[in-house]
Every structure is written in structure tokens, then in C-alpha cells.
């Protein structure tokens, strides 16, 4: 038997955040340091079970001496740093980032992002009414380095038809804020399937399979870990999508039951969400030691048998 030795304790370092001194272990992020002080720094693309990609920029803070704001989720705390989390510059950046997101992405099923729009007083309508949605396949055909001239008076969005190509989940990329979480969960951070990646460039960048083939023709194994990390509802269980379409989705009426998946011996913790006596989706707590929030196709989708008469 191997004996696991305790890791050497990380050295502590001290920094100042909003005038308060905090001591954190070496290697901690500024976000960790802020949270240790109870400072509520907003994040969108950050997830505790994924590598930080620092793309949403809503977690930016001001570090004395730095030319630009820095992303707190990925910037390591350094001894002697003087950090401001609520300066004029930080507030402007957060407000505008939410205005840019909310003016281009449908946040109607993204409760956290929507709450930030409110919290920062963002007014996405400042950029004008949304331009008409793209037709099916139009965004996929765009060539990087070229784009159609802006439609006068309208704000371009990523609105487009929902992709329905499999019985288990839908991809509504009009709701995608390009946080990269699904790509990470599909790739090296969890599933190691690499069925999806970011394709295209700039505003036309999108999450895609190879050559935009439907999911069943791709390497997708339908583990649903992409749904598990999606913060906007762009990736959604068919069950939820259909109930929403019928106006019957009602989270207030839902129960959540933690249980252990019955399929194999790993013992994954799953949370079954039920509405009206029916399971409507399955998740796993991201702090579960067994799953880290990730499941496989059986735990994620294989609960139809519960209501089988056989």
C-alpha cells in the first residue's frame, strides 16, 4: 500500500484588497483571495471544476501598477499587490461587458448573467434594437476575415435557429456566450472526447463539431457534461426544452433528490430534478468527490426506465 504524504503547506503571501489585508496560500488566484474576504466578485466563464479561460471579463479587478484591468479568476495573487474590486474602471467594465453580452446573446435562460445585467445597471438597448436572426446555416458559412456591412440602426446578435439533431439535448446557440466551458468539459477537463471546439473567428466564432456535422455524426458520446457546465441554457435537455416550449417548465414546482447512480460500480452522485412526478433532468454536484459534477450518458439521460411498467 502506498502511503500518501501530506503535501508541504504552500507558503502564504499577503496582499491588499479594497484596503483590507488578506493572506492566501501561494498559487491562489485573486478570485480566491477576494472570496476569502467575502467579496462577491461576479464570474461567468469560471467554474470550480474547469481550468480558467478568463474570456468573459466580468471578473476583472484593478491592480495597482497594471496598465489594464486583470481577470481575477486566472491572475495569481502576488505578495504586496494592491487590488480594487469596485473602482470606477471596474464598474464601467463590468457594466459594459454585460451590455455587450446582453445585446448580442439571448440570456432568457441564464439567471446568473441576467442578475448581473440588473446588478450593474447595464442597458443593453443602448446599442439599438436587435438585428434579425441569422438563417439556419448562415453563421456557419461565414468566412473569417470577411463580414457583411452592419445593418444601419440595428445591433447584430448571435440569434439563430435551435439545433435539434438528437433525442437527448438541444443546442440553442443564440443563447451561447462563448464561455468555452462545454469545450473544456468535452475535452481535457473532463470527458476527453473532443467532439466540439470553437470554430470560426471573432463575432462569428461558435461552438461546433467538425465541419458542423450533426452531433450523432460527430465524436459526441452524449455524456451531457457540456449541459452540466453551460451557464446560459444554450445546451439543454430535450425534456426541459420541450417543457419550456409548451410553457410548462416551472422550477418552483421541482424537487431535487440526491441519489447514487444505479448503473455501474463507480457510485456517481446524481441529483434528479423532478416536476409533477416525472424526472425532467439529472445533474451532479460539482463538488462531488466522485464525479466533479460530470456524469456519463447513463447517469445523465438514462432515467426513462424509472417510469417503465416492465
Amino acid at each position: 500500500m502506498t502511503v500518501r504524504l501530506p503535501l508541504a503547506p504552500a507558503r502564504a503571501l499577503e496582499l491588499s484588497i479594497d484596503g483590507r489585508t488578506v493572506s492566501v496560500p501561494e498559487g491562489a488566484s485573486l478570485l480566491d483571495a477576494c472570496r476569502q474576504l467575502g467579496i462577491d466578485v461576479p464570474t461567468l466563464c469560471h467554474a470550480p471544476n474547469l481550468t480558467p479561460v478568463n474570456v468573459c471579463r466580468v471578473c476583472v479587478v484593478e491592480v495597482e501598477g497594471a496598465r489594464t484591468l486583470v481577470p481575477s479568476c486566472s491572475r495569481r495573487a502576488e505578495a504586496g499587490m494592491v487590488v480594487k474590486t469596485d473602482s470606477e474602471r471596474v464598474r464601467l467594465a463590468r457594466r459594459l461587458v454585460m451590455e455587450l453580452l446582453a445585446s448580442s446573446v439571448d440570456l432568457s435562460t441564464a439567471p446568473e448573467a441576467s442578475s448581473f445585467v440588473e446588478r450593474f445597471g447595464a442597458r443593453p438597448d443602448r446599442f439599438g434594437p436587435p438585428a434579425p436572426a441569422a438563417e439556419r446555416g448562415e453563421r456557419e458559412r461565414r468566412q473569417p476575415g470577411h463580414h457583411a456591412a452592419p445593418r444601419p440602426g440595428a445591433a447584430e446578435t448571435v440569434a439563430q435557429p435551435v439545433k435539434l439533431d438528437n433525442p437527448l439535448f438541444v443546442r440553442d446557440l443564440g443563447k451561447c456566450m462563448l464561455c468555452y466551458k462545454c469545450v473544456e468539459a468535452c475535452g481535457a477537463d473532463a470527458q476527453n472526447t473532443f467532439a466540439i471546439a470553437v470554430a470560426g473567428r471573432g463575432f462569428d466564432a461558435r461552438i461546433s463539431t467538425e465541419l458542423d456535422v450533426p452531433l450523432p455524426d460527430s465524436a459526441c458520446v452524449f455524456c451531457g457534461n457540456c449541459i452540466g457546465v453551460c451557464p446560459t441554457g444554450a445546451l439543454m435537455f430535450q425534456s426541459e426544452h420541450q417543457l419550456r416550449a409548451a410553457g410548462q417548465w416551472d422550477e418552483a414546482q421541482q424537487s431535487q433528490t440526491d441519489t447514487v447512480c444505479s448503473y455501474c460500480g463507480v457510485g456517481c452522485v446524481i441529483t434528479l430534478h423532478a416536476q409533477g412526478g416525472r424526472i425532467v433532468k439529472a445533474t451532479s454536484p460539482h463538488d462531488s468527490e466522485v464525479t466533479g459534477g460530470h456524469l456519463c450518458i447513463k447517469g445523465r439521460f438514462g432515467w426513462g426506465f424509472v417510469r417503465s411498467r416492465d
Binding site: V53, N54, V55, C56, R57, V58, V60, T68, L69, V70, P71, S74, R75, R89, L92, A93, L96, V97, L100, L101, S103, S104, R126, F127, G128, R141, Q143, P144, G145, H146, H147, A149, P150, P152, G153, A154, A155, E156, M177, L178, N192, T193, F194, A195, A197, V198, A199, G200, R201, G202, F203, D204, A205, S208, T209, E210, L211, S218, A219, V221
Partner: protein, 600 residues
């Protein structure tokens, strides 16, 4: 990892072209995943080979490349679809990429494009496309001609007319290279351009006859410590625009505790209006090879990469030849100059992405990933190419090194200003009599520089000058006394950037130029971070409203929104692209009163 291959197969000619880059397919598939992962950096070269053979990257070619390199097809597609010059749908073999960027606009390319729209219809044989700046600004209007085949043809076309554009599309380009304007040829006191126009760019002997390789010899005599000392004392600052002291960069890598280390030359010169590095690489390619070799032996790197923008076919050809000649003559390889040092250079070509000029994006691109920048720190001197300590310098920066090593720091500092020692290459284009690259001591005034370029066409006065490119800023004629040094420009809140001096007169309306700059950043944003990805779209929409005199609400409100967008892109974007995307536009509003004409 369970890779699923694309079902389409490559054609025989595609397979041969790809195998020429990747080597023949092994009879037994590689059992080692890690060995294939180590070849992901061949993704771009393989995609180039496929496209150069048939004119586009077919599903079969993409699938075959991904299979050979054991890259997930979704990731391979993500990379290929990132670059403007890779076409993933069927395209005709002949393509003409016509530059409609700022310098070519100032030269009236819009008429030419109207003509092409009118007279050239889509065909199975050829197609033309609009292109961002091709770095041929002194020969504006310009285009890049490509013809797929074996061998493929790629050529930059300068001083383009509608007739020549149509003729090129139909019968191929006439067989002359674009003649670069070398206005200072024969002048004394030149350092970077001293051989340009005199030396035969294909001849290593001629390069040596003009003083080449004396600096490398000297570098080996005085050793790494000596080179680092001269470099530090010279005060050389990076010419890519960020002004980082080159000596400190080299020293950090030389002192790194990890190996291997790399030297990377940033030859992705894509800042609109910039063409100096192209002239250096085309006219004096051995100088860059020598400079990189000095870097390699100084910092203890055994491999160097030149990341060259795809739009420079002549530079690619001449550098490839120069590297091969240097290797043949023992100036590269296992035993450089017989002194036991090992150094190799590989040339990697971009594929149409301005953002790859950002150093971390450039490194990602070489590694076979999307050209997405990452947050710094860590800086490339610690975590660079393949995660290893890396010196990454611009072409012009590197080409300053041989002079410093050969003649010493004090000789280097004998011209220029205290804060900006040495000379600088200025890319003068637009409405001047003699556009071209000018090497002048730092501290020359803007007015003197324009006068050196023959002044404004027809003897008029400049109405506006764009300094530093699309990421730079506009100044008006009140700034003709501005001294072009790092410290003077900084004091004025402008930048020399990549050395762009684009001169506009009253014949060129400013607002379409600003609209083109806004469109450029919208096109070139990598798309990672929200401020840049959406901010550049909103900025272009705003500029369109202002140019049409259709503000949403009051003009003051719109200009306020423009400033807010600018500040947040500057403050919260990951990299320099987003951070400078509003710079030129904001400067034109502030200094030149853009969009206010016709307002009460």
C-alpha cells in the same frame, strides 16, 4: 481519447501533398499517442499543403490531416476555420485577394473593386476576394495572387489596375516581381537598410562580401555574456510596438533553468500600413538568419522559428533559400561556424490572421492551435513556445542586433535620442510622392520624414497622418513638428507602433478610412473575450451610424458611447488587439473632429 475520423477521404493529389509535409503514412499506425501529439505543430503546414494543391481544404484533406496528426477533427476544424486564407468549401484554383485596406483605399482601390464587381463574375476557374492590408502599401493598390497546383503559384501584385487584375485572374500574373520602392538606396549612414538594393538576396557570398556574418563571428568571440552586455548597453527597444528592452528579454531566457529554449521571429507583420519587415526579408534575408543565429547561440536555444505571414510569398521563398544556404555552409546546423554551437531555423507561415502578430497568439498558432492570445503573466520568456522559455522578437528588432554586436553599444547609441537610441524604419505610404521604407535616426520630425518622402502629392499639405497603423493614432498637420521618438510620441499620447506613417490629404475622405479600420478590428478579433468580440462589432455599428449622420439619439451621446466602448476594450480585453481597437478612431474624433462635419 476516442477519435472519430471524418468519413470523406482525400484525393490522391491531396494525399501526396500532405504526405510531403508529414512524411509517408506509416504501414502500422503509431501506437504512441504522445508521439503524434508532438507533431500537432505540423497542422498549419499540412493545411497549407492541401490548399496549395487544390485551392481549398476539402473534408477529405482535413480528415486525413487530423488522422495523421491524431488531432480531434473538431479541433482541426476549429483551427482551420480560424484563418482567413483557408477555405473549407470548394473554391476555384485561382484566387486574387485584393487589398481594400487603408493605404490601398487612399490609392483609390474602391474604383478598382467596383470594376471587378462589374466585370468579373463567379467562375469555376477563378475568384477574387477583398483582403485586409497585404503589406504592399508603397505599391498600393495591391493584391495577392494564388494559383493552386503543382507547383502552386503565389505572388504579390503591386500598382494594380483593373486591367491587370482581370488579366491576372484570366491568364495569370505577368512574370515580374513587384518592384519595391527603395528610395534610400545608395545613401550613407544606413544600418538596417545598408545592403538593401545592393546585395543579391539569393547569394550568401554576396551577403558576406557586404559584411555579413562578421557579427556572428564577433558574438562567438565575446560569448553570450558579452552579447548580452552590448545589447543591454545599446538600449535597443522592441520594434514591434511594445518597446520592451530586448536585452532584458534575452537575458531572462539565457538565465532560465529549463531547456530546451526557443528563438522565435515575429514576421507576422500585419498592422495595416506596415511593410518594413517585408522589405528587410525580401531584400536582405541573410541578415535575419544571422541575427536569429546570434540570438540562438546567446540564449542557449537550438531551434528558431520564423513565423511569417502567409501574404509574403517572396519573403518566404527568399528566407527558405537563405536558411538552406546557411545550413549548407555550416552557418546553421550542428556546428555553427565550427564552434560547437547548434542552431536550426524553421519557417512557419501564418494563414491570414492579424491577431497572430500578438506574441502568445503567434506561439499558439505555431503549436497548431487557434491563434488565440492568452493572459500574461506568465510571459514567453518563462512560458513560451511549447511551454518553454522563448525569445520572441520582431524582424526589425532582430535586424538591429548584428550592428550592435559588431560595432558595440556606444556606436549604436551615436544616433537617435537618449530614450530611443538607433534608427527606425518608417513605412511611409498614402498620399506622398515617394512612398517606401525610410530608415532615419529616432527623433526626426514628422514633417522632415514626409519631406524625405517627397512631400504630399502635388505639393499640398497633409490633412491627417496615421501613426502606428490601425492600432495607432491620427494626428493633424499641427503635429508636423512632432519628434518621432518613443519618448516624444508617448508625451503626445500617440505611438510609433510598427512605424506606420500613412499620409492623407484632402483628396481622401477620412470617414471611410475610419469605417475600414472599425471593420478591420471586427474581422480580426479572435473572438475569445467579450469586450473585443462584441465591442468591435458595436464600434463598427456606431461608426456606420455616425458616418451616415444617423446617430441613435444625440451626437454627444453617441460619442460618449464610443469613448466608453474604447475604454472598456482597452481596459478589459485579453490582448493588444482589443486594447488598441478604438485608438485610431478615438484619436480622429478627438484631434480631427471626425463625424462632426455638418453638425451645428
Amino acid at each position: 481519447m476516442d477519435l472519430r475520423a471524418l468519413e470523406s477521404l482525400p484525393s490522391d493529389v491531396e494525399r501526396v501533398a500532405i504526405d510531403a509535409v508529414l512524411g509517408p503514412e506509416p504501414a502500422v499506425p503509431s501506437a504512441s499517442w504522445s508521439s503524434a501529439q508532438g507533431r500537432r505543430h505540423l497542422l498549419l503546414p499540412a493545411l497549407h499543403a492541401a490548399q496549395a494543391r487544390v485551392g481549398f481544404v476539402s473534408p477529405g484533406a482535413l480528415g486525413y490531416i487530423c488522422q495523421r496528426l491524431e488531432v480531434a477533427p473538431a479541433e482541426g476544424f476549429g483551427v482551420a476555420s480560424f484563418y482567413a486564407l483557408f477555405a473549407l468549401g470548394v473554391r476555384p484554383p485561382v484566387a486574387l485577394h485584393v487589398c481594400d485596406d487603408i493605404a490601398c483605399k487612399a490609392a483609390g482601390v474602391d474604383h478598382l473593386i467596383d470594376g471587378l464587381t462589374r466585370e468579373v463574375s463567379a467562375s469555376a476557374e477563378h475568384a477574387w476576394h477583398r483582403s485586409p492590408c497585404l503589406g504592399l502599401c508603397e505599391q498600393a493598390p495591391a493584391a495577392l495572387y494564388t494559383r493552386a497546383g503543382d507547383p502552386p503559384v503565389e505572388r504579390g501584385l503591386g500598382r494594380l489596375t483593373l486591367e491587370r487584375a482581370i488579366a491576372a485572374l484570366r491568364t495569370g500574373p505577368i512574370a515580374v516581381e513587384p518592384a519595391p520602392a527603395l528610395p534610400q538606396r545608395g545613401e550613407s549612414g544606413l544600418r538596417l537598410l545598408v545592403r538593401v538594393g545592393h546585395v543579391d538576396p539569393s547569394s550568401l557570398d554576396d551577403y558576406r562580401a557586404h559584411g555579413g556574418y562578421r557579427a556572428l563571428r564577433r558574438a562567438l568571440e565575446i560569448g553570450p555574456a558579452g552579447v548580452l552586455r552590448e545589447l543591454a548597453d545599446s538600449g535597443l527597444l522592441g520594434r514591434g510596438g511594445a518597446l520592451f528592452p530586448t536585452g532584458r528579454k534575452w537575458e531572462a531566457v539565457a538565465r532560465a533553468t529549463t531547456r530546451p529554449r526557443y528563438v522565435v521571429c515575429n514576421a507576422d507583420e500585419s498592422e495595416p500600413g506596415t511593410f518594413k519587415d517585408r522589405v528587410l526579408m525580401e531584400q536582405d534575408p541573410y541578415a535575419l538568419v544571422e541575427a536569429m543565429t546570434i540570438a540562438g547561440v546567446t540564449v542557449g536555444a537550438e531551434r528558431g522559428f520564423i513565423y511569417l505571414r502567409a501574404e509574403y510569398p517572396l519573403a518566404a521563398e527568399r528566407l527558405t533559400h537563405a536558411v538552406a544556404q546557411a545550413r549548407l555552409r555550416g552557418l546553421l546546423g550542428d556546428d555553427v561556424l565550427g564552434r560547437g554551437a547548434r542552431f536550426e531555423i524553421e519557417i512557419r507561415r501564418g494563414a491570414g490572421a492579424y491577431v497572430c502578430g500578438e506574441e502568445t497568439a503567434l506561439l499558439a498558432s505555431i503549436e497548431g492551435h487557434r491563434g488565440e492570445p492568452r493572459s500574461k503573466p506568465p510571459f514567453p520568456v518563462e512560458v513560451g513556445l511549447f511551454g518553454k522559455p522563448t525569445v520572441i522578437n520582431n524582424v526589425e528588432t532582430l535586424c538591429n542586433v548584428p550592428f550592435i554586436v559588431e560595432h558595440g553599444a556606444s556606436a549604436y547609441r551615436s544616433v537617435g535620442t537618449a530614450g530611443s537610441p538607433g534608427t527606425r524604419l518608417f513605412c511611409v505610404s498614402g498620399r506622398v510622392e515617394q512612398p517606401g521604407v525610410y530608415e532615419l535616426a529616432m527623433g526626426v520630425t514628422l514633417g522632415e520624414l514626409i519631406a524625405r518622402a517627397g512631400g504630399v502629392i502635388g505639393g499640398g499639405a497633409p490633412a491627417a497622418v496615421l501613426l502606428g497603423g490601425a492600432a495607432g493614432s491620427f494626428v493633424g498637420k499641427a503635429s508636423l513638428d512632432l519628434r518621432l521618438s518613443f519618448e516624444d510620441t508617448k508625451r503626445q499620447g500617440v505611438t510609433l507602433g510598427s512605424g506606420v506613417v500613412l499620409v492623407l490629404d484632402d483628396s481622401v475622405p477620412l470617414e471611410p478610412i475610419l469605417a475600414r479600420i472599425a471593420a478591420f478590428f471586427r474581422d480580426e478579433s479572435c473572438g475569445q473575450c467579450v469586450p473585443c468580440r462584441v465591442g468591435t462589432v458595436r464600434q463598427e455599428e456606431l461608426i456606420t451610424r455616425l458616418a451616415k449622420r444617423q446617430p441613435a439619439g444625440s451626437l454627444a451621446g453617441e460619442l460618449g458611447l464610443l469613448r466608453e466602448l474604447g475604454q472598456v476594450m482597452r481596459d478589459a480585453s485579453i490582448c493588444g488587439l482589443g486594447q488598441t481597437a478604438s485608438s485610431a478612431i478615438e484619436s480622429a474624433v478627438e484631434r480631427l473632429g471626425a463625424f462632426r462635419e455638418g453638425e451645428p
